[in-house]
Symmetry: C2
Subunit: 235 residues, 2 copies
Amino acid sequence: MEDRNKKHTVLKMDTNSCKPLREVVFETIRSAIVHGTLKPGERLMEVKLANELGVSRTPVRESIRKLELEGLVEMVPRKGAYVTPMSITDLREMMEIRGALEALVAELAAQRASAEDIDKMKRSNRKFENSVEKNDGPGIIDNDILFHEAFYQSSGNGRLENMIHTLREQMLRFRVEYVRRIALKKPLPGQHRQIIDAIEHHDSKQASQAALRHIKLTEDDMLVLLADDEAFENQ
Amino acid sequence: MEDRNKKHTVLKMDTNSCKPLREVVFETIRSAIVHGTLKPGERLMEVKLANELGVSRTPVRESIRKLELEGLVEMVPRKGAYVTPMSITDLREMMEIRGALEALVAELAAQRASAEDIDKMKRSNRKFENSVEKNDGPGIIDNDILFHEAFYQSSGNGRLENMIHTLREQMLRFRVEYVRRIALKKPLPGQHRQIIDAIEHHDSKQASQAALRHIKLTEDDMLVLLADDEAFENQ
DNA sequence: AATGCTATAATTGTATACAGTATTTTAAAG
DNA sequence: CTTTAAAATACTGTATACAATTATAGCATT
């Protein structure tokens, strides 16, 4: 009877972490929102979450406050926290920003990227290409991330890296069956290659234009996918 | 004896607010960091802050967690929170990002700004110009903010607005006697005007270039000011 | 039957208590 | 006098308790 709140535990926490409890709780809730386990508009009740995670309200509260700052939850005073709903407008806004920031990354990388940076990008993009060829879903995702991380890092601007990273993670909330449509992934390695080439030739303008094109095309793909998704139909 | 921790209260809190206590605490501490009342590298001790503000540790803790996410404080596990020091590198990184984002704002504004948006920018820039002419320090700051807010708003991208706003606020940490050097402010209304004109003519390219130039020149001015500041000498 | 009021339950907001760990101080030995 | 070790202190990390507010349900009245 003591666990009547654990109807069926939805959230799983990585308890074997050395990090402080509040960090683990934060990342658990954040991941649940980003991956859709916690649905948009859903109310987040502190005691319920605390019971599900087997912790007290304190770390849950601190996590919710941080998620509020990130925009993943909205707070109504004296009522509670709700998972922020996402709309097509949000997607457009985020992609506009990503476009500008990734173009900046490309521009800076063209000026600053070291040989190792470029090599890292090339290797991860080759692995990405292989994954696409083999229709290896998880591999596609992982290696795409690897390429982009290498790309961002080569900008030599840590803040910029962080901002784009956060943006990218939030985009996961839109990732409706992102993996299944492999066909859409085919042109990506080529787009990446254009960016790498421009960076290698220290051509800032070319690099930023290629990066911007890449984002725009990604946005188009996502809009196509979302158009099929009834959850976003009327927005 | 009960207030031995209030040596001399440095932080003042707006207690007459209807907002939840944690919000007031958050903004108070944030403002203290941004305006330099809490010095870079200074340790933030929860009980001390709580006593100074006359609240319990809970809202202070939540505020510090949020400030950590914003990058204004850094946490060392089991040790505490410290005000993040700012370096010239930080300034460069932030200005690079601001440049890209403000250029994006200009580009979008050139496509979307309404007549009212443009009118708002013109009016605030005129007031800004007057303040500069009259060497009206506070007026310069206020009207500069007003112009930029109108500018950001005309992008039609709320997220973008927020991001730049946060960036701009963090830049205040560098504002070492920003007001005194009035001479540096003279060219600003003209730069603003270039941006407004381009937006009015729906010339995205021109607008974004003008915005980028504006940021670059502002960065140069700040670097000149910081070069005289011993606190940033060796960085 | 519908609407409004009251009482109760539930939930957030804030404070405090307790445990564990890092730091500092003090004392003793070299 | 310096160095080291142990104890005391102070602070963070987590949990819980209490207060204030809001939602809910039941009852009464129209």
